[in-house]
């Protein structure tokens, strides 16, 4: 039998132990120190200016060709959404074929091949929002991959190893932005990788090159002189679905509250 005195003593001891600030237990991490001091390596980020996008879909086309995602397959590494907000504060959204051919019809697609007409006089506002992988700083897709086929590089880009992915689809389920899909040819998980083969050679991504309106830009967050970094640091930028704690690294200028 435990007496009351010992019980109280032990309880206090345990409570005291638990109250020890967890930070005191944090181990010294040389990598973190290095990252704070040496800011030389890149951290790729993306800047989307929704005020400039006209929904032409050239970026989607360019991406499909560059990254060999079958042109007619109904999946795409990047896409553009159209938002039509009417005066009854309803939002109509669509993205026919990911806007590969832009928005050839005025009517909004609502699935099952059906269309919905939105009259001009009801329109309150309308705009386009390009989407792509957010190269999250805390990527759930990397966390859930059972074999480590999805991984994050030092410069922040999340990649998929095509020779190692087993095709379980867990990462597709784990991404809150719905950017992942199974590649119809390789049968492994696929998504935007910021054209890693291009940016690591100092080039622009295919979508940035295809955009005639300057709505898309890529930059290096660790370089204070980078024009994209300057915009992100000084202007009011937004990210998508912040509430998931994924720390997305695609920043939006002029993001509207209707954007999902």
């Amino acid at each position: 039998m435990i007496d009351r005195r010992t019980f109280c003593k032990n309880t206090l001891l345990i409570a005291g132990g638990l109250a020890l600030p967890l930070s005191a237990l944090e181990l010294f991490d040389p990598k973190r120190l290095l990252a704070e001091k040496d800011q030389k390596g890149a951290r790729w980020v993306f800047l989307v200016d929704t005020r400039k996008c006209v929904g032409c879909g050239f970026c989607v086309k360019g991406c499909k060709v560059e990254n060999e995602v079958p042109y007619d397959a109904n999946v795409t590494r990047t896409w553009v959404e159209r938002y039509l907000v009417t005066s009854d504060s309803k939002t109509h959204i669509d993205s026919p074929k990911g806007a590969r051919d832009g928005f050839p019809r005025k009517e909004v697609e609502i699935g099952h091949g059906k269309l919905e007409e939105v009259r001009d006089e009801d329109l309150e506002k309308a705009f386009f929002v390009p989407k792509l992988c957010n190269q999250c700083d805390n990527p759930p897709c990397v966390q859930v991959c059972p074999v480590g086929a999805t991984y994050q590089t030092e410069d922040g880009v999340v990649l998929v190893d095509r020779s190692w992915c087993i095709g379980c689809g867990y990462c597709i389920m784990g991404c809150p932005y719905g950017v992942r899909f199974f590649h119809p040819v390789y049968h492994v998980a696929d998504k935007c990788n910021f054209c890693y083969h291009r940016i690591s050679k100092g080039m622009q991504t295919a979508c940035v090159d295809s955009c005639a309106f300057g709505a898309r830009r890529i930059g290096n967050l660790r370089d204070p002189e980078d024009p994209v970094t300057k915009v992100i640091m000084t202007e009011r930028v937004n990210v998508l679905k912040e509430e998931y704690g994924t720390k997305p690294q695609v920043f939006y200028l002029g993001l509207s509250k209707e954007v999902k």
């Binding site: 795409t76 993205s95 074999v147 087993i166 867990y170």
Partner: protein
């Protein structure tokens, strides 16, 4: 055609890459692992807690659990886009992933059940091996059986009283160790879903517990059902084979076991339903951002699946059937079949229902189960694949029963 397009219908705005990626095989996966875990827990009730009334079904459910075990892997393999690489989960486990633990937990559990079975059947192995060895002339079949049983004894031929008692102690220990592992095996199947923060329906810490409870329910129900069926077969055989117990003996043994086991079934059912309802009420009460779309899925689109089939037919009706006194075998058959349907629908509503709405919260997706396959893909992820998974454990059970007869007295 891209993966998923063949069976996904989209409505309103969904992201272009969104399809129903996890199909019927992923429904079968937690359903089958649930049966494994449930059957094992049932057998442990006798071996560990000494619930004497369950003796008749304990050995039966242990063997059955072992027959179900390999089948828990099958749906996963059928579902992978690169099935030949499946082994990589064991070779390069990535421990932040809930699926990565599967191989380890699964193997541990398999070894526990296998060794428990060995201790339970050691005497039988020894006796059979010795009897076969004593025979002067053996046919090819007997020769094979002789080799098999000799191998199964693993050289331990001691069947003295002390040795058998040691066996029994080992069984008890293994059964005790098996309970947490079985619960873990299934609890973490729930965790696989519960930890997906991108999915509003799955994201709940209750998921593992809900899965464990309904797993035990489904395991017990299946054991009762198959027990009844095998007993009926034995009854039919009893007339022709004099070595079997008489028809009347079988009958009374059967109804006693069924009545006792269904009490435990009831207990776990109440726990499972309570948890599920708690989850539902909690979501409605807290009504976070995703509640709007969840509500329209739960109360409108999936109303029939959830409230009519799962809760009504799968929970309420069997509850009444089992609660009315004087349980008959026929009523038990109907009840357990409905319970199985209910648990299957629960898995369906979680897996398919969880993908019924887009992460954009402004569109819906509908899964049309491929019935007539027109490609390997639609076979694997359609009715054919599901039936294949459902049939295999019964075939395995039939084979296992030849080696480890569930009804023969061993100790």
């Amino acid at each position: 055609m891209v993966h998923g397009e063949a069976w996904t219908l989209k409505e309103f705005f969904t992201y272009p890459n969104e399809y129903i990626y996890w199909t019927i095989q992923i429904v079968m996966y937690p359903f089958m692992t649930g049966l494994v875990a449930g059957a094992f827990v049932l057998s442990s009730l006798y071996h560990v807690f000494g619930v004497k009334q369950l003796k008749g079904i304990a050995r039966f459910s242990l063997v059955f659990s072992f027959a179900l075990l390999p089948v828990a892997m099958l749906p996963l393999m059928l579902h992978l886009q690169q099935p030949l690489r499946g082994i990589e989960v064991m070779l390069t486990p990535h421990f932040t992933s809930a699926i990565a633990a599967f191989g380890i937990v699964f193997t541990t559990y398999g070894m526990i059940v296998a060794s428990e079975l060995w201790f339970v059947y050691r005497k039988h192995f020894v006796e059979t091996a010795l009897a076969l060895k004593a025979k002067e002339r053996r046919g090819a079949g007997e020769q094979f059986a002789c080799l098999l049983f000799s191998a199964l004894t693993m050289g331990a031929y001691d069947v003295s009283h002390e040795a058998l008692e040691a066996d029994e102690r080992a069984v008890k220990k293994l059964a005790a160790a098996g309970i947490p592992v079985a619960c873990f095996l299934h609890g973490y199947a729930g965790f696989i879903f519960g930890s997906v923060k991108a999915n509003a329906l799955w994201m709940t810490p209750l998921m593992p517990v809900i899965f464990i409870c309904s797993a035990v329910v489904s395991g017990i129900a299946l054991c009762i059902l198959t027990y009844i069926v095998t007993m009926e077969i034995r009854k039919a055989l009893a007339a022709r084979r004099p070595e079997l117990p008489s028809k009347e003996e079988l009958k009374s043994a059967e109804s006693q076991v069924v009545v006792m086991t269904s009490r435990y079934l009831l207990m776990f059912m109440v726990a499972a339903i309570t948890l599920e309802l708690l989850d539902l009420v909690f979501r409605g009460y807290t009504a976070v951002k995703s509640w709007d779309i969840l509500r329209s899925v739960i109360y409108e689109r999936d109303f029939v699946n959830i409230f009519v089939v799962q809760y009504g037919l799968g929970n309420l009706v069997p509850l009444v059937l089992f609660l009315v006194p004087g349980l008959t075998i026929r009523r038990a058959i109907l009840g357990t079949a409905l319970v199985l349907l209910g648990v299957f629908m629960m898995r369906w509503n979680v897996v398919i229902g969880g993908q019924a709405f887009s992460s954009s919260f402004s569109g819906f997706m509908h899964y049309t189960l491929p019935i007539w396959p027109d490609s390997m893909e639609t076979f694997k992820e359609g009715l054919g694949g599901a039936l294949l998974v459902a049939v295999v454990p019964f075939c395995l059970f039939w084979i296992l029963n030849k080696v480890m007869p569930v009804f023969k007295e061993t100790h």
